[in-house]
């Protein structure tokens, strides 16, 4: 035993006298240190004989806000996740395909087992936002929250309590943060008198507000209907990147539909996106915020060349020309008048006019307008980028004009111009009871409501449900969200306001990670992940609907607790535990949800079978869905839910809003969708100082700000600002140089990616990186929202995150 040489050779050199031994032994707890039998402090006698020998495989899912809910199969050994796989059911054929997760889901261990995960309940010590916390007991945390909540309700009313938009735990059934009104926190609040609602989302507020004025809703054909088309025209639609996992199904669906239909794909986007790389035949770069000008010029080409579908416009639409306008509206307000220069501005929307604004050459506008009008059917769709602009409502309604002008609405292979849908399975939701509070603000306006809540009105600020808010926000719940700072606008100003704890008096953050938003917590509660509890999710992957029974893979870490238990404990302290729980545990609610689902859908498996299956998939048994097909078939019998029952190219409701609302200088609301030059748009004189338009594309490294703290992804897709070689050359910049991107709101420091994949004059800072100001206030995290504006869009009062002017210089 050569290895035992150390026994012989040891130079122990130990000098330990009895006196020292006794002293140290006593100091360390006396006999416990060297007790007979060797049991020492720190460790316990084991109650398990041996390790669990075999790995088991547990079904789970990646539940973040990319639109996918990708299945994960977790290999669990001795109570820990040791490996991550994805769906292995089905095959490689579209329709029976495997729903394979993306690199984010595959790196999930780096979120679950992140050594910096939040582990214990904490309370703020020191100034709010300073990031100093002290560990407290759960009892103290619950007591503090319950008493502060009660105090604020007593003092200011339930309207002073707000549940912030949060999408970090999304897609589950009970443990979910979005929509906030369907979260356990909403249920808790509804047991104690309610809370201030919000409408819209940071993703799609302008579109969901604006499209119903045109169609009565924001419906679209399903993505699989591309099989029936000859031409696909996309505006700022980047689903191969934003929703790249198989659980979203968009990448495979697009590729399969392209192959099967042989359709040509054209994309208008300032950036040559991953979608452009994957499926697009022709990429046409366009300046941000100018889509409505492009569309108007295409309409000009179609009208002057008589390529538009006049019969469709006459029969199904209101407001195309002066012969089809509502009563009581002055002449010259129709879309045709606007386009031909017979309207208020007297400007014909020629391709040459639009070329100067959009950056798209006039001949390209003419060619594509003809191609769209002459290729039947044509599937026109848009992503959510064009609408996340200062004039986003105009952009999304304008893009919908192309299928309307060409009669592509309500038919197979056509579309409404709205982002595409898919086939899904409906799973019943967790009931959150009714909110007695009727007041509602735009999702983007909470910042204003903290500052001047009691002054905010329906006509000036888009308050709904009441004419005026009764109180400012004094208590904010933030469960699994990073929108307090990172995903809101103007991070510097937002943080500064929130640091004043005389305004919003209490911020409760429930999180897994120490996000920039979590730093602003007064009470910080460590949540468990969906891998530490059972859940149910459902989603749509093209023509395949599915539901997943997520089974708990591991025990909750440290002192992390489930959201349902937190809410139940707080409910108990507020005297509404019974109302909150109805005697059910989290898992019993899941069983209830499956039973309720089966009442409407008897084919849905029972709870136990479902849990054993892990994943339940259904391929669309019918044809791809077509939005407004019944309306197209018989508009009299099946009117749209617009006031006229028709497609409202001119919306009288919007026209009335324009005449009644208090609209800030520069904001444009009109009956028809027009190009409105905006603050910090291409035509703003501010461009002399800040010449570059900045957007913030969705990035593969993250889903919004989720997954930011995953090392693998940061290495694979580093945070860098995209810039065209022409702009880089002008500034003496080369690939990889550290640069400052700045405007009056703030300054970022990050490397530059010099690439022809972005239009000249436009830069993109991938959105979602965590805000990380250094001591000089320079954001070294590269969070795009350090530079974005707090000014809401005109109609939806929503986030204009892609409307920004900036300058770039070498750091």
């Amino acid at each position: 035993m050569g290895e035992q040489n150390f026994l012989v050779n040891a130079v122990t050199n130990t000098v330990l006298n009895r006196r020292s031994f006794l002293k140290w032994n006593a100091a360390l707890g006396g006999t416990a240190v060297l007790a007979k039998g060797g049991l020492s402090f720190g460790l316990e006698k084991s109650d398990k004989a041996a390790a669990q020998a075999d790995e088991k495989i547990v079904w789970s899912a990646c539940l973040v806000n990319c639109g996918s809910r990708c299945p994960l199969r977790l290999h669990v050994r001795d109570g820990e996740i040791v490996r991550v796989e994805t769906d292995d059911t089905g095959d490689a054929e579209y329709g029976t395909h495997q729903l394979r997760c993306c690199v984010r889901g595959r790196s999930i261990r780096q979120r679950v087992y992140n050594p910096d995960r939040l582990k214990y309940p904490m309370k703020r010590v020191g100034k709010r936002g300073e990031g100093k916390f002290e560990r407290i007991s759960w009892e103290e945390a619950y007591d503090t929250i319950a008493s502060e909540l009660q105090r604020i309700i007593d003092e200011y009313g339930n309207e002073a309590v707000y549940i912030n938009y949060a999408t970090g735990a999304l897609g589950g059934t009970v443990a979910k943060s979005w929509p906030p009104g369907s979260s356990p926190i909403a249920r808790l609040m509804n047991c104690v008198g309610g809370y201030l609602n919000h409408y819209g989302t940071y993703s799609s507020a302008q579109m969901s507000t604006a499209m119903p004025y045109t169609y009565g809703s924001r419906s679209s054909n399903s993505i699989e209907d591309i099989i029936n088309t000859k031409l696909v025209v996309m505006f700022g639609n980047n689903i191969c990147e934003t929703s790249m996992g198989g659980g979203g199904g968009k990448v495979f669906a697009l590729q399969a539909m392209k192959e099967q239909s042989g359709a040509k794909f054209i994309l208008f986007d300032p950036r040559y996106s991953e979608t452009a790389v994957s499926v697009v035949d022709e990429w046409i770069p366009i300046r941000p915020g100018t889509d409505a000008a492009l569309v108007a010029a295409m309409a000009y080409v179609m009208i002057t060349e008589d390529l538009h579908d006049q019969e469709f416009l006459d029969e199904y639409c209101v407001g195309f020309d002066e012969d089809h306008m509502p009563e009581d509206v002055p002449a010259g307000l129709s879309y045709k008048s606007y386009v031909m220069g017979d309207g208020e501005d007297g400007m014909p929307k020629t391709p040459e006019w639009a070329a100067k604004i959009t950056g798209v050459p006039a001949e390209t506008i003419v060619r594509v307008a003809r191609e769209i009008a002459l290729t039947k059917p044509c599937f026109i769709t848009q992503g959510l980028g064009p609408q996340r602009q200062a004039n986003g409502e105009q952009n999304c309604r304008a893009i919908a004009m192309l299928p309307i002008l060409t009669g592509n609405v309500g038919i197979h292979g056509g579309n409404t111009g709205v982002s595409e849908g898919g086939y899904g399975i409906r799973v019943m939701g967790f009931p959150t009871l009714d909110n007695p509070v009727k007041a509602s603000i735009s999702v983007f306006m909470w910042y204003e409501a903290i500052l001047r809540g009691a002054e905010m009105t329906a006509l000036a600020d888009g308050v709904r449900g009441v004419d005026q808010l009764p109180a400012p926000i004094k208590f904010m719940w933030n469960y699994a969200g990073n929108t307090i700072v990172n995903q809101h606008s103007d991070s510097n100003a937002t943080v500064k306001q929130l640091e004043d704890d005389s305004l919003c008096e209490m911020i409760v953050v429930i999180e897994n990670h120490m996000t920039p938003s979590a730093k602003l917590a007064d009470i910080l509660l460590p949540d468990i992940t969906n891998f530490e509890q059972n859940e149910i999710t459902s989603g749509s992957a093209g023509n395949t609907g599915y539901a997943i029974a997520l089974s708990q893979a591991i025990e909750p870490q440290f002192e992390c607790r489930p959201i349902y238990e937190m809410c139940a404990e707080i409910a108990k302290r507020l005297g509404v535990e019974e109302e909150f729980t109805e005697g059910r545990t989290h898992d019993e609610w899941l069983e209830w949800v499956v039973e309720e689902t089966r009442k409407n859908n008897p084919d849905f498996p029972d709870y136990e079978t479902f849990r054993e299956m892990g994943i339940y998939k259904v391929t669309n048994p019918g044809e791809p869905s077509v939005a407004y097909a019944d309306f197209r078939e018989d508009p009299e019998a099946n009117p749209l839910s617009t006031p006229s029952g028709k497609i409202e190219i001119f919306s009288k409701d919007l026209y009335d809003i324009a005449n009644t609302w208090e609209i800030p200088e520069g904001d444009v609301i009109t009956g028809i969708p027009v190009y409105a030059a905006t603050w910090e748009g291409y035509e703003d004189p501010l461009r002399e100082k800040y010449p570059l338009q900045m957007i913030g594309h969705h990035y593969k490294a993250r889903t919004h700000s989720s997954y930011h703290n995953v090392e693998w992804l940061r290495k694979a897709a580093p945070q860098e600002v995209w810039m065209n070689p022409l702009d880089a050359e002008e500034r003496g910049l080369e690939l990889g140089d550290m640069v400052h991107v700045y405007n009056d709101r703030g300054r970022l420091k990050l490397p530059v990616k010099v690439t022809p994949r972005i239009a000249p004059g436009v830069i993109s800072v991938p959105q979602g990186a965590w805000y990380e100001p250094n001591k000089d206030g320079v954001d070294e995290g590269g969070c795009v929202n350090t530079l974005t504006a707090l000014r809401p869009s005109p109609l939806a009062k929503a986030n204009p995150q892609h409307t920004n002017l900036v300058q770039v210089e070498k750091a």
Partner: protein
């Protein structure tokens, strides 16, 4: 028991006793939140002047000096400062300054509850032990690994007292294996991080003492203090 002709039991018993005390102190200091009950007796009598291991090791010396000086100036109102240092280093909220878990240093993805945690858990289990069940914390916490070394020292001392040479040698083999395969592969890097980031001379002193202790036991067990593995 004297010598068995190959090595000296008496010397080994003293050594194991001294090691156990050193491990015991380090374990308690690094695992538990600081408390007056634990610290006051150490400071009042300046026990560090009677540190049980070789005090000629530079890092040990440094640790003793820092702790003696800190102890001499100690007043109970400094406890809040120590707690805040302990939280910033090992608890959070926020990125920890010195992660106290082995797998963060040695696993491919630098995570908690990773391969090393499972290995350590299995080793404890073979000795009929487990990490505290009251809280779900990784088994490879520095404080628990040191506590396990105390346990192995105890087993050796018991065996020596019984004259059970096989048990004695096997406990020392186990200790050597655990040190070489686990503790010495990461704990020095961990101690360095504490030295770099501690806000108080107390934790800096503890970490120096830890570093010196690891150097001493490595020499005794004829092991190298390995640099941290590359992930």
């Amino acid at each position: 028991m004297g010598t068995n002709g190959r090595y000296n039991f008496d010397e080994w018993q003293i050594t194991l006793t001294a090691h156990a005390l050193a491990y015991g102190f380090l374990s308690k200091a690094l695992y538990n939140e600081p408390s007056a009950d634990f610290l006051a007796p150490l400071f009042d009598e300046n026990l560090f002047a009677e540190w049980p291991l070789d005090t000629d090791v530079e890092h040990t010396r440094r640790g003793i000096d820092l702790l003696a000086a800190f102890g001499a100036a100690w007043t109970p109102d400094q406890l809040a400062l120590l707690k805040s240092d302990y939280n910033a280093l090992f608890v959070g909220a926020g990125p920890l300054l010195a992660h106290p878990w082995e797998s963060v240093y040695l696993s491919e993805e630098h995570l908690i509850f990773d391969v090393q945690t499972l290995e350590v858990r299995e080793i404890y289990r073979r000795f009929g032990l487990q990490a505290p069940s009251s809280v779900r914390e990784p088994d490879d916490h520095i404080g628990l690994e040191l506590a396990f070394l105390v346990h192995l020292c105890s087993l050796g001392l018991d065996a020596a007292e019984r004259g059970d040479i096989d048990a004695f040698e096997s406990s020392l083999q186990a200790q050597r294996g655990f040190l070489g395969d686990h503790v010495l592969r990461w704990a020095p890097t961990f101690m360095q991080r504490v030295i770099e980031h501690a806000a108080t001379d107390y934790y800096r002193g503890v970490a120096y003492l830890g570093l010196g202790t690891l150097e001493t036991v490595a020499r005794v067990f004829d092991l190298a203090v390995q640099p941290v593995g590359q992930g």
